[in-house]
Subunit: 339 residues, 3 copies
């Protein structure tokens, strides 16, 4: 079950700069490309004639040419040329089109009712384009239902265990952890303060080894975009000074069992030191791809095709944000009439 009425990340703007993007999203093939005027356009990813994958064809200027029989479509999805026979255009051969927005580094696509797109804002990913930050990017294909990843991200008690040797440490729990859950409209906030803790090994290149107050404020914007406001402050110091590592976690269900996971991590320190980029990218990759991804995938394997709640899991108080996010998504999906 997916929420169709919502903005989903189809990729990064720099990825679209490099060429068309073909991705399966909500179990539908989607093709995003830049038209002749440079604007992004999004259409269904296969041809209505024999369902050939359009990204294997020629995408040039405002037209897409199918790789199988050469039908040509314009940027609005209309079939405008049939190279065969008398050239009569086939009926019902137009591509579905999707609203698309490029904003602050992200290409967003709307797969639901187009009438609702205009009134729905996209998520603020301003740090990505803010010159005060240097940002590294990543992508994972995770063999798990997207809600398992939302569970993971809204619950920042797991890092003290799972990321104890990378982006967290065993100190980041118990009495040192302060958690506040709040829901504002449809945004689920899960805010953490880790008071007077050791710096994590992974972030030593940026912070050194002195003790710190860590603030990690995660917010879920439905359907499945999460923004983390991460700060390392001096102990008892102000929270608007220090090392800021804002991070976007943008999830898109590929299907019921696989998820696209786009992430970007900014930093407000040593932003001109491009040599640090590879180090920070590796810290993020290690934590997300080598620690989170295998764990989430193995949990999914253990769960089989069952829904989490159907398995009657034990609940911790610290699960409150993840549980509320599930209830919110369940309600939104039910309201739009299911898939």
């Amino acid at each position: 079950m997916f929420l169709k009425n919502g903005w989903y990340c189809a990729g990064w703007m720099h990825e679209l700069d490099a060429g068309p993007i073909a991705r399966r999203m909500l179990d539908m093939p989607v093709l995003v490309f830049r038209a002749a005027d440079g604007a992004a356009a999004a259409v269904q990813g296969n041809c209505p004639h024999r369902f050939a994958p359009l990204h294997r064809g020629t995408i040039a200027g405002d037209t897409i040419t199918c790789p199988y029989h050469g039908l040509v479509f314009d940027r609005g999805g209309r079939c405008i040329h049939n190279p065969h026979g008398d050239g009569e255009l086939p009926k019902n051969a137009d591509l579905r089109t999707y609203p698309v927005i490029e904003s602050q580094g992200v290409v967003w696509v709307w797969l639901g009712d187009p009438a609702l797109a205009a009134e729905t804002p996209v998520v603020d990913t301003g740090f990505v384009v803010d010159p005060a930050y240097a940002t590294v990017f990543g992508y994972l294909s995770v063999e798990a239902h997207y809600q398992l990843i939302i569970d993971n991200l809204l619950d920042l008690t797991h890092p003290a265990i799972l990321h104890a040797n990378s982006i967290s440490s065993p100190e980041y729990m118990g009495e040192k952890m302060h958690h506040r859950f709040r829901q504002e409209g449809q945004v689920v906030h899960s805010d953490y303060l880790f008071k007077d803790v050791a710096a994590s090994p992974g972030l030593a290149p940026l912070w050194g080894d002195r003790r710190t107050d860590v603030r990690a404020m995660m917010a879920l914007y439905p359907p499945s975009s999460l923004m983390l406001d991460f700060r390392m402050n001096e102990v008892d110091g102000p929270d608007d000074e220090g090392l800021f590592l804002p991070t976007a976690h943008l999830l898109v269900p590929e299907n019921e069992r696989r998820t696209h996971y786009f992430y970007a991590m900014g930093r407000n320190a040593a932003i001109d030191n491009r040599g640090l980029d590879a180090i920070i990218a590796d810290v993020a990759r290690k934590a997300f791809a080598e620690e989170d991804e295998p764990m989430i995938r193995e949990c999914q394997e253990m769960m089989g095709t069952h829904d989490l709640f159907a398995l009657k899991p034990a609940m911790l108080k610290t699960d409150v944000a993840a549980v509320r996010a599930r209830l919110l998504l369940d309600r939104l999906i039910a309201e739009e009439g299911g898939r």
Copy 2:
């Protein structure tokens, strides 16, 4: 859904010369071997006792010995020896047998009602054994429903796009393409004339680079054998002189999602130049295995398990032969009572 009453290619005669052939056809295991007198015999491919694959056993003279417990069967499928205990023969232990014909290079098997086999002729593949032609052979296992491959072969508008750099060229369409569909009895003909076009890059070794009239006459003999009469003639010249490349495309459903694809391509030029064989075989392999197969497989992936018509595809006038072939097969399958 398969048509059972029809001749299917189990392999080439030279393949059977080299040893028994074990193949899954219409989702049933089939074993074809030469008996002591050299004649082909076809039986079910697994033992009725514990369903062991008989091709792993010993096939010698007129007997097949099961590799698991040693039951012996004669060429007529009868269980004639039980090596264990008192040697009593088990009941209901005979193998199903299938009518088989060797004809003009092809081993044909009949998997339906045996009574109907005798009255049904096999397809004429005479060029394969005609000394006026040199022939190369190939085989593909295609992860797609067999009807997607029939669609591909009856529609020769796709080569101008998909094979533009191999066995066709972008000129082979539009006004230069003349198409005639006709059905004669149960044979669906799809005849193409490409008038005054460039020679394709792939066939330059045989034809050179002078312009040509290309005739490509494809015929489907149900269930799924297709014969292509391909000719390159001088522009405005007679159609019975020039380069002839008759090609057999013999399809057999392995199951609902995978197809055996046997092909043979003959040529009437430079037939004693065996060095050309590898060049021609590579031209065919490139077109069928590297261009057609990935396209058909990806279309199948896009379609999932849906039938083509259920997806309400857009239709081109040039689809007429493929559509009529689907309607014909649907009717024949319905008439024999489905699978």
Copy 3:
């Protein structure tokens, strides 16, 4: 369909000495480990909170720490520590525990009603720990239903065909084979005598090449543990002298299509010649992994998901033990109410 009330082999004791064992058994994750006092304990293999695989966590002394959020469980499965927030223990967070017995080299686990475990003896695998024998061990993961392997083992007519060049020979059948089936309580015995036959090639390193009377007495202890009393005696000599190769075949359904196959082969000859171990291990591996396993797997492929009886197989008189074992298991499974 599995029999839950029965002892299943979770592994060898020496495997458990080396560290915790995590295995899927009867389609459930099971974790076996040694507690602080050295005794074996068996619990469900995933955490009740988010179903993380516990063997990825820390297992030390009497506690298991979940690798995802750090919940701690004691050897009795009780959740005893929550490191987060106020540390309140979650409800319904205890692990299922399973009776476990270490006996004569084998770790046995009981996955059914615990009340029935105490009254059920484990199988006697005494040779494994008997100083009069040297023993080699092996493990296979077989992609087949466990009953196909029971069929294989209770029927020792197949070796004369399938293992003709390894642990049997073509002489081991027909008039030279004497078979007796008997059922004692719930134990199915299938006893074979091969009278005055050649030694098998595989066992020549132990027996040489003189002729022999071979006794092979297989017994199935439900659910799926089989013990083979294998003896090579002098022709017409006493049956309590000669080469003894007792062998345990301990099967555990991983799921409906895959089976854990543990085996151990003892010998009463040259027991101090450890160099022979590798030779004997290779003889067993060749027979079980290279001859039996592919045959059983391919039979399963041929059968698809069908039950053997549903396919109405031909029956041989020598199938009597295998058939009776199937009827016995069917009855026992029905009596405990199916899975």
